[in-house]
């Protein structure tokens, strides 16, 4: 039995490694995806093109402009001369933000009277708008505080002192890259498993295999073990790039990563097998894979917090293996969590994996036999 499984595994490896496109899927796509998410897909807001409408034209107003620019968040590209010039700039998307300083700004400041600064943001991209508004008000408040240090008007009140733990600079890359590991592994393992089984059916070798003493369980293991191994290898590869190229901090010793990956792969390979039992051609397998994969990513908390979703969808995410593995990878990388903290996710993932794998194997056996 083990001899036959071993030979199936060897055969699968020869086939994957001999096919140039397959080789690219296995070794190149994880890196490309990681690069994309590491560099291009970022929710950080920088270089907001800004119009600065200065009615005051004093040293103080120019100092505020300088501070906005030197923060790196704002790039003042326009100095309109009238309010009418602001409207078209925002309409045409030339600027995301316009800041208006009223006449008498510096005089009021010096007198210690409260004064107003108008911040207009393009709200069509609500996320960026909120962030821009937040940055602008922080810089302006800071400026007001610095200037007003000698004025008694600044109220004692509450001094808000915020700190972001685990990712102090709030770099979205730190948050994304560990998630990409989970996503890439899912996609590759799903595709390889479902396609490998369906391909045998398509080229007619499945019919031949059924007449040999090869048992369904041996066939199933022969069709999952190689891709589990490739999955492990890809985790290793992507982790190396994440750490040495993107400087993603690893707060824990990574010891539980292999165990967590193994548990995760159980579900993923189970789903791959299931797809192979419902698809007759490789195209169908491909379609089915993406039909599962895209909602799985959207409803995993990878980009949108699960807490924001409607309750009913939130319950649905409990059967999404990605949901758990994202918490695990982020926990391992960013928080330095160990098994003592991540055990609920790992247990859930293990139960899910066992259920999915069992159902898929039963269906697989029935379909084959």
């Amino acid at each position: 039995m083990f001899e036959r499984i071993k030979q199936m595994v060897i055969k699968e490896f020869i086939q994957v490694l001999r096919d140039k496109r397959m080789k690219a899927i296995v070794f190149i796509t994880p890196i490309i995806q990681l690069m994309l998410f590491g560099y291009a897909v970022t929710t950080d807001v920088n270089n907001i093109t800004t119009a600065f409408y200065d009615l005051d034209k004093t040293f103080e107003s120019r100092e505020l402009a300088r501070r906005l620019e030197s923060s790196g968040y704002f790039n003042i590209a326009y100095f309109p001369e009238s309010p009418r010039e602001i409207q078209p700039l925002v309409d045409r998307g030339k600027v995301l933000c316009a800041i208006q300083i009223n006449n008498g700004f510096s005089k009021d400041l010096k007198k210690g009277i409260s004064t107003e600064v108008q911040v207009i943001v393009d709200g069509t991209d609500s996320n960026t708008a909120t962030v821009a508004m937040d940055y602008a008000s922080r810089i302006i408040m800071k400026y007001a505080k610095d200037i007003g240090s000698n004025t008694p008007t600044s109220s004692p009140g509450i001094n808000l002192n915020t700190r972001a733990w685990y990712n102090p600079d709030l770099r979205s890359r730190n948050y994304n890259v560990p998630g990409v590991i989970a996503i890439v592994i899912m996609l590759i393992c799903l595709l390889l498993t479902s396609m490998a089984v369906v391909r045998e059916r398509e080229i007619g070798t499945m019919e031949q295999l059924m007449v040999t003493p090869l048992r369904p369980i041996e066939l199933m293991l022969g069709k999952t073990i190689p891709f589990a191994m490739i999955g492990f290898f890809d985790v290793f590869l992507v982790t190396l790039v994440a750490v040495f190229w993107f400087d993603i901090p690893i707060k824990s010793s990574l010891q539980i990563m292999p165990l967590a990956t193994a548990i995760y792969l159980l579900s993923v390979l189970g789903i791959g097998l299931f797809i192979s039992t419902i698809s007759r051609t490789q195209q169908q397998a491909l379609m089915a894979t993406f039909l599962f994969f895209i909602p799985a990513v959207l409803l995993s908390g990878f980009m949108f917090p699960i807490e924001n979703m409607p309750k009913i969808i939130q319950y649905g995410t409990y059967i999404n293996p990605l949901r758990y593995f994202l918490v695990i990878t982020r926990g391992i990388f960013l928080k330095g969590n160990g098994i003592e903290i991540l055990w609920p996710q790992m247990t859930a993932l293990l139960i899910l994996g066992i259920v999915v794998m069992t159902l898929s194997s039963l269906r697989f056996r029935k379909r084959i036999g």
Partner: protein, 307 residues
């Protein structure tokens, strides 16, 4: 059970919904027979293959292959049989050698016997010079021989071939049958299904199958003699239009078309004149005719039309 019997089929039936693909089949196939299952597509040939190779369960009935029951001893049967499907079941991205070794592994052929067996299989199939070539780069005939080599790696007692010469050129086909005759000498039982009636004549025994039932079962020569009435070949430039007219004549058992020739089974020889007169009334000229020995195809058509 008789030890000379290689395959025994008893009341075997397989239905898919309300379609009966195999209908109450009874057969005994002796060791060393080259048994040809002949019939058009949809006759139930592949279903019988699947049932006998224990990859499908019958609706009712039972069969024994190499002494093992298809109902309860499927695993044992699989070790004793070789099977080659229409598509030859090869991995086109593996080499000739890798394909053979893969099947040797599946059948757990002992390591020490392998070099000798592989050498022999490559030898008779003339694949030795191509052993490192990818299977996908082989010609149709070579793929077929490789498929056969893979099916023979564990020296099976019974060899099942499902339409093995589909899409293979005539020369390779002849080579292939030569290999089968060599195997027969070694005592292997060969069960082959084919839709080519000319090819069926190469078998030692033929079973004509139609709609899940056996119409005839005998050796090719006996089948040819079985018509029991004369067969006349007629040729005409308008043969196509002549068919319908001939069919309407009393005493005509069957008519089939071969290019500009017609094969007509008639109840008595004198009927030929009636046919010619009838046709000439419709303006169809018969340019010649002679009595012939019917081919398997003629027999098959007359049987099907006689139903």
């Amino acid at each position: 059970m008789n030890t000379d019997i290689s395959i025994k089929i008893f009341n075997l039936t397989k239905s898919f919904g309300n379609i009966t693909a195999v209908n109450n089949l009874n057969l005994g196939i002796k060791k060393g027979e080259l048994f040809g299952l002949v019939g058009p597509d949809g006759a139930g040939k592949t279903t019988i293959m699947r049932l006998l190779t224990a990859t499908m369960m019958p609706s009712s009935g039972e069969a024994w292959v190499a002494g093992n029951s298809i109902l309860s001893e499927g695993e044992k049967i699989k070790e004793k049989i070789g099977y080659m499907s229409q598509k030859f079941g090869l991995y086109e991205d593996l080499t000739v050698m890798e394909n053979i070794i893969f099947y040797a592994d599946l059948y757990e052929v002992p390591q020490k016997e392998r070099p000798q067996r592989i050498e022999r299989l490559l030898g008779f199939s003339n694949l030795t010079p191509f052993k490192d070539r990818l299977a996908g780069r082989l010609s149709g005939g070579m793929k077929q021989k490789l498929g056969l080599a893979c099916a023979l790696i564990h020296t099976p007692e019974v060899l099942f071939l499902d339409e093995p010469t589909n899409g293979v050129d005539p020369v390779s086909r002849r080579d292939f049958w030569k290999i089968l005759y060599d195997l027969l000498k070694e005592g292997v039982t060969i069960f082959v299904s084919t839709a080519y009636l000319d090819e069926a004549e190469r078998c030692t025994r033929i079973c004509l199958m139609h709609k899940g039932k056996i119409l005839m079962d005998d050796n090719p020569a006996a089948i040819k003699r079985s018509l029991g009435m004369p067969m006349v070949e007629m040729w005409s430039d308008d043969a196509r239009n002549a068919i319908e007219i001939i069919k309407g004549i009393d005493g005509v058992q069957s008519v089939s078309l071969y290019g500009n020739k017609l094969h007509v089974a008639i109840s008595r020889s004198e009927l030929v004149d009636d046919i010619i007169i009838n046709l000439s009334r419709s303006g169809i000229v018969i340019r010649g005719h002679r009595e012939i020995l019917p081919s398997i195809e003629d027999i098959f058509i007359s049987q099907v039309e006689g139903q």
